[in-house]
């Protein structure tokens, strides 16, 4: 089962996947939680560039700062120091309202535990994002769900869907605002192997259509599907490797 998305305008996508302009650029990015004795330095100076159209896996042991990095680049957390530029915008100095607009216009999130709204059907979970952000087209929601392989489940509630199906809804929801950057924090963490493979395939597919995809995981097997792997240890980038021949999601096991 290899779903395809059909939401991209061909020429626009081509331009984005040009690998020319960096989509993400951080300089001296640090993040300190707490104060005084209790202070934890989660990120200790990250210099990073991610080009448009890359599929990057951020790999590292638990507590190494992956989620923190992903959240700061995605605009839901703030750096303590350093600059963060995403899609040409310096988001490290923006006020909360502007940051909210930034998320609406540029990014989509996929979480480990799906975070679907239990009182809304699959379709409504996607629609509500379009309604509340005012971005995207409600008419395209069935198409989006079709694309993630849920064409026959649009009117089901989360409680009536399996974990993998719920994560598909979450993917469709992340795509609702047509973001150029997709963040997936441990997207397979709550799923079994075959289901996890399917979700990874979906993400790979979305990347193939030109979106920049950033996957956070502690699972080194997942890294095989990326064309670039950043390894984070104790708040620092330990290695940054390019993978010229990424594996197909279906071939990855753990």
């Amino acid at each position: 089962m290899t779903p395809t998305t059909t939401d991209a305008q061909p020429d626009e996508r081509a331009e984005r996947s040009g690998h020319t302009e960096p989509s993400v650029r951080t300089r001296g990015l640090t993040r300190i939680f707490g104060e005084g004795d209790a202070a934890v330095e989660a990120l200790k100076g990250i210099d990073l560039e991610i080009a448009s159209g890359e599929l990057v896996v951020i790999l590292g042991p638990s507590g190494s700062g992956k989620t923190t990095l992903c959240n700061i680049i995605g605009g839901i957390d703030r750096a303590s120091d350093g600059t963060v530029e995403v899609a040409g915008e310096d988001i490290s100095t923006e006020d909360p309202g502007r940051l909210s607009d930034f998320r609406r216009d540029h990014v989509g999130f996929i979480f480990q535990f799906f975070n679907l709204i239990p009182t809304l059907t699959a379709r409504e979970n996607v629609e509500v994002i379009i309604e509340m952000t005012g971005r995207g087209d409600k008419g395209r929601v069935p198409e989006l769900l079709e694309a993630v392989g849920l064409g026959d489940r649009v009117d089901n509630f989360p409680a009536q869907l399996s974990g993998g199906q719920q994560q598909r809804v979450a993917v469709a929801r992340a795509l609702a605002t047509d973001p150029e950057l997709l963040f997936a924090d441990e997207p397979t963490g709550a799923l079994d192997l075959p289901t996890g493979q399917q979700i990874l395939a979906l993400l790979q597919d979305l990347n193939a259509q030109g979106r920049t995809v950033i996957i956070v995981t502690h699972n080194s097997s997942v890294a095989q599907i990326a064309n670039r792997v950043l390894t984070l240890v104790d708040g620092r980038i330990e290695s940054d490797e390019t993978n010229t021949s990424p594996a197909a999601a279906a071939d990855v096991t753990w």
């Binding site: 923190t68 959240n71 957390d77 709204i117 009182t119 809304l120 409504e124 509340m132 609702a176 605002t177």
Partner: protein, 776 residues
């Protein structure tokens, strides 16, 4: 033990604002209880202190040989009995003629029953005959005091006397000539206590009243025995202390406190219990993993149960302790203000330990009851299930499926509709807060609008005369009165006291005589239609139907000093204030004793100068009394001033109740939905849209509850009003057109205001942290 108490208290400081909101609701309930129940006790005690000190008569007999009646009372078991003379002659005070009341007292020594308290000047010296004591209300109305003079219309003309002192009397704490005159023109009534010898000389009358005191703690049987003996000795009527006009009026007022001390605190305590329930249920849901871990580690169920019950108990105790302190303060403030307003000479302020214990335990019980359900749930959680963070989501029910089909609604609207049913407990609490607030506000406002409208009806449609003038027989004609500038119409009327005797009882009231086609009084039947004055027979206030167990067409006896006459009740009347009987002048004249006076009803021109008319008319020779019908409205307005304060306090408290409960439920809503909110915010939904969606949902529960609250509020107002209905008031629940919409709007506003902290709470949600917690 110590450590556990510390932990419980520390736990309470989380969700501090919600805990405070619940505690404040409990505090208000307990405060209202202590304040109103305490005020009731203290006011009763204050009256009792005055009644005791001034030896307020237990029985007052009229008619017959008063000395013989007094002796009969003593023989039958009274501890004390005296006779005295009471006459209602015209008085002239500061150029105003009025129908006053003169009561004989011994000179040189105080009477042993129905004594007076001299508050200014001195008591009557032994042997004086040209000095009197003036009751405080008249002294205040006319602004006169010791050394000033007034005139008494005696058998041989006006007698001038000097005021020796101003006094309080237990019989006139509320100045009322009779049970029918409890709301009168203050310029039309004054009580004068005069030396026995002077009274005897002025009116050539023997004592006509016998007063009796019963031994302390006498039983009802003793009272009836003494009363029967007095009647047997020739008294035509015996009035008990409860029936005494001033006392009856004041204790009716006191009953209000007694009722309030039960109903309103209960509303708050119910609301607080439900808020505590919602709050603790939420907390236990949040702490499920911890509970599971504790239980896996071997903690006993009882321990978990006690822990959460303890939290409820503490919230209750803290709230009620605060309530007790506020209640004690409010109690003494209310008692002092009230005794000051009424003019009760003694003010007893006491705090009753049983009341404080009751207040504290109400709070504790409410807190514990609110915590009971959730605590039991907590103690029953299986450790393994408790540690699983993701609750097992229930599949959607019929409602969700129905809402899903309402595709015309925006998605966020559908979300709000489904959440109403998903969080039944929260929805219920929000609705309950709305309903209770409406009940409280409508009950108090309904009371006020009903009284205001009753007064309107009474003085716009029923009592159409502007003033009543009493003249010496054949001195001033209707024509002379009609010529006075500002007088539009004059009619001859009759007015006198009668006892209406029916099948099953008797009732003392006023008999009014009018011209058959009178324009001075509107007669409104029970069905609201106009009724004509019958050529024969009488019209009677509807309370008589039950009081005497009679129907229209039945014959009753009108008993007066002049004798008995049988009349037919032609119809009953719907009159909001008072219960009187009406007849034609001819019928009234034949039933009433000849008082040697003529009575006239006056109607004024639009915008006439009422004070000017009073002084012009009372200065006409032959006019002996004058009563302005509308002056009563001023008296009532003053009385209603207190009522407005009461309504204001109730509205404020009702609003606080609504705010507190809604705040708790809305805050809990935000806490329960943090994950969803953070997800929406992470996707770039603006704060105002997310807050708006939550607000819509919160407001929906309120709006759904409004019709329920209006219905129950109207019902409760009508039930509350019923408790005030008797022979003095026949109140029907009447609303001003704005009442119900305003109450609904007020609750909606309160709900909107409580959205504000909720949206602040949403603003503070740290998206990154919440998303991380979920993903942990």
């Amino acid at each position: 033990m110590q450590a556990r108490t510390h932990k419980t208290l520390r736990d309470l400081t989380r969700q501090k604002a919600q805990v405070i909101a619940v505690a404040v609701t409990i505090a208000l309930g307990v405060m209202m209880y202590i304040a109103t129940a305490g005020a009731y006790q203290n006011l009763s005690a204050s009256y009792d202190a005055t009644y005791d000190r001034l030896a307020f008569a237990d029985l007052v007999a009229s008619g017959g040989d008063a000395q013989a009646v007094a002796q009969a009372a003593l023989d039958a078991g009274a501890s004390e009995a005296i006779s005295r003379t009471q006459v209602d002659p015209p008085l002239l005070i500061e150029d105003t003629k009025l129908l006053g009341r003169v009561i004989s007292v011994p000179s040189g020594e105080h009477p042993s029953i129905d004594d007076v308290d001299v508050i200014d000047g001195d008591y009557l010296e032994d042997g004086v005959t040209d000095q009197v004591l003036l009751e405080r209300h008249a002294a205040e109305t006319f602004a006169i005091g010791p050394g000033d003079t007034l005139e008494v219309f005696a058998a041989d003309g006006w007698a001038t006397v000097t005021i020796a002192g101003v006094v309080d009397s237990p019989e006139y704490l509320w100045p009322a000539r009779s049970r029918q005159d409890i709301l009168g023109d203050p310029h039309a009534f004054a009580v004068v206590f005069a030396p026995e010898d002077a009274v005897a000389a002025w009116f050539a009358a023997d004592p006509n009243q016998a007063l009796a005191l019963l031994p302390n703690g006498a039983s009802d049987a003793t009272r009836d025995q003494v009363s029967d003996a007095m009647e047997a000795a020739g008294a035509s009527s015996v009035m008990t202390q409860e029936e005494q006009p001033s006392n009856a009026t004041l204790s009716e007022d006191l009953q209000g406190f007694d009722q309030m001390s039960k109903a309103f605190p209960a509303l708050f305590l119910i609301a607080a219990g439900v808020a505590a329930w919602v709050l603790l249920t939420r907390r236990i849901l949040q702490e499920k993993p911890v509970i599971g871990t504790l239980m896996a580690a071997g903690a006993r169920r009882g321990r978990v149960l006690r822990h959460y019950l303890g939290q409820g108990l503490w919230i209750g105790l803290i709230g009620s302790a605060l309530g007790v302190v506020l209640g004690v303060l409010a109690n003494s403030a209310i008692t002092t203000a009230y005794t000051g307003f009424i003019g009760v000479p003694d003010t007893v302020i006491q705090n009753y330990p049983w009341m404080i214990v009751a207040g504290l335990s109400f709070g504790a019980v409410v807190g514990a009851l609110g915590a009971l359900g959730p605590s039991v749930t907590a103690s029953r959680t299986a450790p393994a299930a408790a540690m699983r963070t993701q609750g097992t989501a229930k599949p959607p029910g019929a409602w969700s499926a129905f809402v899903a089909r309402q595709t015309w609604l925006p998605t966020s609207g559908r979300m709000a509709l489904r959440d109403l049913v998903r969080s039944k407990r929260r929805t219920f609490a929000t609705m309950l807060g709305t309903v209770l607030a409406l009940i409280m506000v409508l009950t108090s406002v309904g009371m006020l609008t009903s009284i205001m409208q009753a007064i309107d009806i009474q003085y716009e449609e029923i009592n159409l005369e502007d003033a009543t003038v009493v003249t010496q027989r054949d001195t001033v004609g209707a024509d002379a009165l009609a010529e006075v500038d500002g007088v539009a119409a004059v009619e001859t009327t009759h007015l006198g006291q009668v006892t209406v005797v029916g099948q099953n009882g008797s009732y003392a009231t006023a008999l009014h005589g009018f011209e058959p086609d009178t324009r001075m009084h509107g007669f409104v039947g029970l069905d609201g239609s106009r009724v004509e004055l019958p050529a024969e027979g009488i019209l009677a206030g509807q309370a008589l139907r039950d009081l005497l167990d009679v129907e229209a067409g039945d014959t009753v006896t009108l008993h007066t000093e002049a004798g008995d006459s049988d009349v037919t009740i032609a119809a009953f009347l719907d009159e909001p204030i008072g219960t009187a009987v009406y007849a034609t002048n001819a019928t009234a004249a034949s039933a009433l004793p000849d008082a040697g006076v003529d009575t006239f009803a006056l109607a004024f021109d639009e915008g006439a100068d009422r004070d000017g008319l009073r002084s012009t008319v009372t200065q006409i020779d032959g006019v002996v009394a004058y009563q302005d019908s509308r002056a009563i409205i001023a008296t009532i307005d003053e009385y209603l001033g207190l009522f407005w304060v009461f309504i204001g306090v109730m509205i404020v408290l009702g609003t606080v109740l609504a705010l507190a409960v809604m705040y708790v439920t809305m805050a809990v809503n935000v806490v329960e939905r943090t994950g969803e909110l953070a997800t929406l915010r992470a996707a770039g939904a603006p704060l105002r849209r997310v807050a708006g969606a939550i607000a819509t949902e919160n407001m929906l529960a309120t709006i759904v509850a409004i019709p329920v609250g209006l219905v129950l509020g109207v019902w409760s107002a009508s039930a509350f009003l019923q408790t005030f209905n008797d022979d003095l008031f026949t109140l029907e629940l009447r609303w001003a057109w704005w009442t119900l919409p305003a109450a609904a709007l007020g609750v909606v506003l309160a709900a909107l205001i409580s959205q504000w902290p909720a949206s602040r709470q949403i603003r503070k949600v740290d998206i990154a942290t919440v998303v991380r917690e979920r993903a942990a």
